[in-house]
């Protein structure tokens, strides 16, 4: 895997220099795809309000905006997943109707979706080529070879015949990217492709996008990470509340300006508090726990009020440790002590009894009931505490609690009776967080708590995590985002291939040390 320094370099370098050929293409300003006066409403909710958006051939066009601004909705309309309430789509000057993704694919558009949509029980090769097999008849050898090539491009090295099942979210995301790239689409939509990727893969992807751009492909790129957007895009469109704030040349606009346009007001970063806190006795003590074949010899201690970050490359086994502690796949050996007392956690119920909470990484599959209202979801983990006699659910209380959390976390929704599946990704994550915070746990395990959340919301989540820590909770935060690990953690555990390769104290937490440990070369770095 490429070195991480390259990633920071790419960010520091800013926009990639424009070559002569590209300048020619770009200067022609051929409008490839354009959306005119697109409106979209879901019921009474106007999500897009007369959006004009145009895409020039050969450019990388970034879309940015807060959670729920309507970015995904816009792309989904252009891809034929949703039908606009009104408005037109033009492709190379002709008005087209996108009634189904099949139309968009036929017009040479490919899309990488925000939520991975993979075929778990099918092989990787099939996952890559579904939707654009070359012929009616399938030659598997050819296909496997091509699949290997496509995986190579995104830095994966699985056997193409391997089933998709068991790959991590990030790996799935990479397969989806490989799939979009292997189709010979002219236009590629990327909806937060990097949300669950680690820095190395992000860098790899950015390099790949650059190659694509050189090949003349046109790309729409959604991300909440401004560095990436500054590094890769030609033009940037900012969306706010379903309206276009403006489209800017990358060189014309600074990060701070972008943020300001996104949220419509001055942005103050929470900053990093460098005060050295002291903590009391360790509250959660994990000693030498293992699940053979998954992870081994993991030990750590967290005191009340302490935040332990857990870093590592994808597939390092961080999620598995969390699942082990939470009793989903109980640990096979080792000890877990809470407040000095040894506990055996064989099931999630036992974990919850011991006041542990886990906000899972896969919010749709494991965190939420997408077809149910916000209220149902928010209170589900504490449902036992809002019953009256005979187990009767106190719906008033349920509503009140949910509304409190919607307000507290600034979740964007119509009411607490809205279906969670209808919320934007970021807002779904907030509901998932609310569900677990409401259990008032002593120990809170967060697995990728800010996956797919916009800058503003992220700050809120950070503030929330800090506040929870101040309230005296033990927090274990698994994250692939280096920034948040560095800025939030009081200590950091780093994992590599199921082993614990580092435990960094407060004053040791730096990007470089974390990354070295994540590659199991901490000693070399020192």
């Amino acid at each position: 895997m490429a070195s991480y320094n390259g990633y920071f370099l790419a960010i520091k370098l800013g926009p990639i220099p424009i070559t002569r050929e590209r300048r020619e293409i770009l200067e022609k300003k051929v409008c490839l795809l354009s959306a005119q006066k697109i409106c979209k409403s879901f019921g009474k909710n106007n999500v897009l309000k007369s959006v004009d958006f145009d895409l020039e051939a050969g450019e990388v066009h970034a879309l940015i905006g807060e959670n729920g601004a309507g970015k995904s909705t816009l792309l989904k309309i252009l891809f034929g997943i949703y039908q606009p309430t009104s408005g037109d789509i033009n492709l190379e000057g002709k008005t087209v109707r996108m009634k189904h993704p099949v139309d968009a694919i036929g017009h040479g558009i490919a899309m990488i979706h925000q939520e991975p949509s993979v075929f778990e029980d099918l092989s990787i090769a099939e996952n890559i080529f579904t939707g654009h097999f070359e012929n009616r008849k399938i030659k598997w050898e050819d296909l496997n070879r091509k699949a290997s090539e496509a995986m190579q491009e995104v830095g994966l090295q699985f056997s193409p015949a391997r089933m998709m099942k068991g790959l991590s979210v990030a790996e799935q995301q990479l397969i989806e990217i490989a799939s979009a790239l292997s189709s010979d689409a002219k236009i590629i939509f990327m909806d937060e492709p990097t949300a669950s990727l680690t820095p190395g893969e992000v860098e790899n992807l950015l390099a790949l996008i650059d190659t694509l751009r050189k090949k003349g492909k046109t790309i729409v790129y959604i991300s909440h990470r401004l560095e990436e957007i500054k590094a890769i895009s030609d033009r940037i469109t900012v969306l706010r509340d379903g309206e276009i704030v403006g489209t800017y040349q990358n060189s014309e606009i600074t990060k701070d300006q972008i943020i300001q346009k996104m949220i419509g007001k001055e942005f103050r970063s929470g900053g990093r508090k460098k005060e050295n806190k002291t903590f009391g006795q360790p509250f959660l003590e994990v000693e030498d726990i293992s699940i053979p074949g998954i992870f081994e010899h993991v030990s750590f201690q967290i005191a009340k009020g302490e935040i332990m970050g857990v870093a590592g490359l994808m597939g390092a086994g961080r999620t598995e440790v969390a699942r082990g502690i939470f009793g989903i796949t109980p640990v096979k050996s080792g000890q877990i002590r809470i407040g000095g007392k040894e506990v055996k956690i064989e099931s999630p119920e036992a974990a919850i009894k011991n006041k542990i909470a886990l906000v899972p990484e896969d919010r749709q599959g494991l965190g939420l009931f997408v077809s149910e209202p916000i209220a149902f979801n928010t209170t589900f983990a504490i449902i036992d505490s809002i019953k009256k006699r005979l187990g009767y659910i106190d719906t008033k209380k349920e509503k009140k609690i949910s509304e409190q959390y919607v307000e507290g976390l600034k979740t964007k929704c119509r009411s607490v009776s809205q279906k969670v599946g209808d919320l934007s990704g970021g807002n779904q994550q907030k509901v998932s967080l609310a569900k677990w915070i409401s259990t008032n746990p002593d120990i809170l395990i967060l697995d990728e708590p800010t996956r797919g959340i916009d800058v503003g919301a992220k700050e809120e989540v950070y503030r929330l995590i800090r506040k929870l820590a101040e309230e005296g909770k033990c927090i274990m935060m698994i994250s692939s985002e280096l920034n948040e690990v560095v800025s939030l953690s009081d200590k950091v555990m780093v994992m590599y291939e199921g082993k614990q390769t580092g435990m960094l104290a407060k004053d040791e937490i730096t990007d470089v040390r974390i990354l070295s440990a994540a590659h199991d070369c901490l000693e070399e770095a020192q």
């Binding site: 999630p348 997408v370 449902i383 005979l390």
Partner: protein, 320 residues
Amino acid sequence: MKHKLKINRIIRPELTVFVFMILSLVVGILLSPNFLDIRFLLGSTIFYCELGLMAIPFTLLLTSGEIDLSIAANMSLVACLVAVLYQAGMSMPVLIVIGIAVGTLLGFFNGLLVTVTKLPSLVITIGIMSVYQGFSQVLVGDAAISGFPEWFIGLDQYTILGLIPLNLIILIVVALIFSFLLKKTVWGRKVTAIGLNRGTALYSGVAVEKTKVLLFTIQGTFCAIAGIMTMSRLQMAKYTIAGDGQMDVITMVLLGGTAFAGGRGSVLGTLAAFFIIVFIRTGMRLALLSNYSQMAILGLLLIVVIIISNGLEKMAKKYE
């Protein structure tokens, strides 16, 4: 605003079932002049009460995403066992308790098998169906065992106000209790949650396996009760006593608006579907419609009711 909210409240999947219930009553009246005889009509329910009684817990089971095809077999096994033991000289009241215990145990066993092997319950219970059916055949052979004590025979003939059969009362009371459990209580919500998304339910600390075993066990209890009620009504026990009852139960539950894949269920819907089946069948029988026409009409009804209730649901969404 308020007005529209109300429309939303009213248009629910169950509504169609209730409308069809009334419709089937009207059809019945049109089909035969002898149909509208309340006493007869209520009396006709007793052939289906046992099935209805099994359909109530079945609604919950299906809501949690599981299915039990062995219910009718369980029912006849309990009946045969009770009958054989009665012949051997045990006393009936004791046997009723034993019978219910055995049925419960059989249900518990199903639940255990399904949760331990983690195989689809549809498949496990297809096999179990043969096993239970086979055991009752082994127990009684082809004999029909009768000669039960006087008080035990014809429990279905007791009526309230000389009009409503006891069985029907039991069914309605049980349905109301289970409806409350499913819709209003924490436990019911957990059952629904398991059917909606097993993973999320597990991560939220729901004892998924235990709940499922419990549901199978309750199902077993009701199979046993149904078995004993049937014995009392027919005054005999035989291994074919329950026939293919599971198909009628499934039809009832689905007609009532419970989702086959789990996650949505309505006990009152099942109850209404029970009445639809009673009315339609009774009406068609009085009209001397051939049984296959009856089958075809019931099949059509199942599809039409669900098409319409889906349509209504969509309409309700629009009003939102």
